[in-house]
């Protein structure tokens, strides 16, 4: 099947699945993902691996848009009030999840480098999935605000943690080779960490300034959309080209824009009216790409990963929220909303495969199988937490205003 036909199938199935899951009160995201699993190579095979590869660009753009939206969390005046809490909770839950997974892997006899890399990857919470559930449920309130801040910081935290661990692993491999020069090894190991942080923020900042400046001269919604799409594509494209993190760069674009222009709300509103098809494509592709066949291979290591991560997230958020003085609702339910795992974790698996081919296979098997579980359980848990905390609102007929 060619790419356009597979795109059509994706959209129709997304729509169908979206309607079906509403009957059983399951989040739309789960419906999209299940639709993807059904039409993907795991089951019907209507969408092949080749189709998925050529549709990859849609995923990248959709992820860029999602992170761009999340970047608006960093609006200076609003973030000032919640920064301490969000940072504290994120550090608690990320470090605890990473530590428990690492310790668990070491306990079952895994190598230290594999254990550390798995620990670092386990820190991530899926930004796109969680945000979509928030949006679908029109969620507002303390839990929602804390979660938005947490997602943004969590992804940065995970990327820093992974880069540090990768640098240590890289350094240990380089220093053990007989012709290693320590200075060069140190430089090549630490460079990606520094470059990905500073370079991505710099790129996002520049594109954010461009977007802010230009948007103040545009009135028509159509032009606004063209500008937004251009900015996101530019951001993702340049990030790939310069080997930066599209995730941090997109966050930086959103953060810059929300702080530099009074039109940001207009831009985000314009975006929220037009992006549903892209998000549907993103999640169906994510489902189709999911390696369901790998689930039976999960084994003991997979169970340690899933259980360790879930325990770390649940205990870490509760402890962090208590320490930061958050309300009882946040303490009780925030953990459930952080379970979803996808985008960045899969990206980090690919990076592991490239940088450490000898470790990549085992890590990929564990993480990809675990992602299949978390991506199905995560949205359900998030929706449950939002409902129980009373932060869901009925959908208005007007399109939702995103992250205001």
């Amino acid at each position: 099947m060619n790419e356009l036909a597979s795109l059509g199938i994706i959209l129709f199935f997304a729509l169908l699945a979206g309607h079906l899951v509403k009957i059983v009160k399951v989040p739309e995201v789960t419906g999209y993902i299940l639709a993807g699993v059904a039409v993907g190579p795991s089951f019907l095979g209507w969408i092949t691996h080749e189709n998925l590869a050529s549709l990859e660009v849609f995923s990248e753009v959709a992820l860029g848009l999602i992170l761009f939206s999340i970047g608006s969390v960093f609006e200076f005046t609003a973030f000032r009030h919640m920064a301490r809490r969000a940072v504290l909770i994120t550090v608690f839950e990320s470090l605890l999840a990473g530590s428990i997974v690492t310790a668990g892997m070491l306990a079952v006899g895994q190598r230290w480098d594999i254990s550390l890399l798995l620990g670092a990857i386990s820190m991530e919470t899926a930004a796109a999935t969680t945000l979509m559930v928030l949006r679908e449920n029109n969620a507002t309130g303390e839990l929602t605000d804390t979660l938005k801040g947490l997602i943004a910081i969590n992804n940065i935290c995970c990327l820093i943690g992974f880069s540090l661990v990768a640098a240590v692993v890289d350094l240990s491999i380089r220093s053990s080779s007989p012709d290693a020069a320590l200075g060069q090894a140190l430089y090549e190991s630490l460079y990606p960490l520094v470059w990905q942080m500073t370079g991505s923020v710099a790129l996002g900042f520049l594109i954010g300034v461009l977007l802010s400046y230009w948007s103040s001269h545009i009135e028509e919604q159509g032009e606004t959309l063209i500008l937004m799409a251009g900015a996101v594509l530019l951001c993702v494209g340049f990030s790939d080209w310069l080997e930066l993190s599209p995730l941090i760069a997109s966050l930086a674009v959103g953060a810059t824009m929300v702080n530099l222009t009074e039109h940001s709300r207009k831009l985000f509103n314009a975006l929220s009216r037009t992006d549903p098809p892209l998000y549907a494509i993103f999640f169906v592709i994510a489902g189709a790409d999911m390696n369901i066949a790998a689930l039976p291979t999960l084994g003991l290591l997979g169970l340690v990963y899933v259980a360790g991560r879930a325990a770390g997230k649940l205990i870490g958020t509760r402890a962090g929220a208590k320490y930061a003085g958050a309300s009882e609702v946040v303490q009780k339910f925030l953990g459930l909303t952080t379970l979803a795992q996808a985008g960045l974790a899969i990206g980090l698996v690919l990076v592991t495969n490239q940088r450490f081919p000898e470790l990549g296979a085992k890590i990929a098997t564990i993480v990809l199988a675990a992602v299949a579980i978390f991506e199905l359980v995560g949205p359900l848990a998030t929706k449950f937490a939002l409902s129980r905390s009373g932060e869901t609102r009925p959908q208005s007929t007007e399109p939702a205003v995103l992250l205001d």
Partner: protein
């Protein structure tokens, strides 16, 4: 823009961002070349490729082999295959005694002008030869696993590592890559067959071009020039299974009268070859169960052998010696075993039995 972010700060920050991107991109470490696959991984891949594709590629290989076949001839002088190649200017074949022999021929060689260069391993190769009995072209596909150093009777050469079994009928077979470039020739050194890499042809031809080496390799004779008022050639060693022994040379004796140099001895042995004939000539075929041609009225014919019989034992060389010098009387009669129309016969050959 909001007042809190004054324009000049934004401009300054943009400058910093551009500087970060510029410097960062400039400082990016150069990417190392991708690691080549390990030898075991390559071998696995090669096995996989061979197993999966051989069936489909059979027709393709057959077409290629037939097109390369124009370079091949059967060479009666060596009883083996020979290959014409533009740069060789002669037919290159592998004898039983010399690994490679360049033989002058009147046949017009087909002249592809490609140089004989060392090619990289890890590619398909086709071994093409003429099956002596049927005089038909045969081929087999294999993988060129690279080169290794080897030596034959002290002469160093490069050998192709191939994953194909080499059988005696393939002596002198040519190894081509799929582009039709000659990359090697199957040569016999001692009792074993090797594929000699093309750039080593010259080394082997030159190495065995040394008359002393040639005399030893081809006739099993080591000779030494005796200086003095009347120079002579002393036979130092003679291999009992060599052609020199059959020609009547004996260790410790002097070379026949008039022969004072090794090249002269070589010439005389070469000239003597048709004379020292016991009525037996090998037809090309495997070493064991070798087909023979028998001249009517010859000692071999008197023994009961006929053209087309396959000699099982003793070896052809030994039988020739027995026909000429009689078998040793100790140990009873020698049994000559031969195969005719698929049935083996044995004939006793008593001392003095054959004349």
């Amino acid at each position: 823009m909001p007042d809190t972010f004054q324009r000049k700060y934004v401009v300054a920050l943009c400058g910093v961002a551009v500087a970060i991107l510029g410097i960062g991109a400039w400082l990016r470490p150069k990417k190392a070349a991708p690691k080549p696959p390990s030898s075991s991984e390559t071998a696995n891949l090669q096995r996989l490729v061979r197993r999966e594709e051989l069936r489909n590629m059979g027709t393709f290989f057959a077409e290629k082999a037939w097109s390369f076949g124009e370079h091949l001839r059967f060479v009666p002088e060596t009883g083996a295959n020979g290959v014409y190649w533009g740069r060789l200017g002669q037919v290159l074949s592998s004898g039983r005694d010399l690994p490679l022999e360049a033989i002058q021929t009147n046949a017009t060689p087909t002249p592809p002008p490609e140089a004989l260069v060392e090619s990289d391993g890890g590619r398909w190769l086709l071994l093409v030869w003429i099956e002596a009995g049927q005089r038909q072209l045969e081929w087999t596909a294999g993988l060129d696993g690279g080169r290794r150093d080897s030596s034959c009777d002290g002469v160093k050469y490069r050998e192709l590592i191939v994953n194909t079994a080499l059988t005696p009928t393939m002596r002198g077979a040519a190894a081509f890559d799929l582009d039709g470039v000659l990359i090697g020739v199957v040569a016999q050194c001692g009792g074993t067959l090797h594929v000699v890499s093309a750039p080593s042809f010259r080394a082997l031809l030159d190495g065995f071009g040394d008359p002393a080496k040639r005399l030893r390799a081809k006739y099993g004779v080591v000779a030494e020039v005796q200086e003095g008022p009347t120079p002579s050639l002393l036979i130092r060693e003679v291999s009992l299974s060599g052609k020199g022994y059959l020609a009547g040379l004996r260790a410790g004796e002097k070379a026949p009268k008039g022969i004072t140099t090794i090249p002269e001895l070589l010439d005389s042995l070469q000239a003597a070859k048709p004379v020292q004939d016991e009525g037996l000539e090998p037809l090309a075929g495997p070493e064991s169960g070798q087909a023979i041609a028998v001249q009517p009225g010859s000692p071999a014919a008197q023994l009961g052998l006929r053209t087309g019989d396959r000699l099982v034992r003793p070896s052809l060389l030994l039988l020739k010696r027995y026909l000429k010098t009689k078998p040793p009387s100790a140990g009873g009669p020698v049994m000559v075993v031969y195969e005719r129309d698929g049935i083996q016969y044995a004939k006793p050959m008593e001392a003095g039995n054959a004349k």
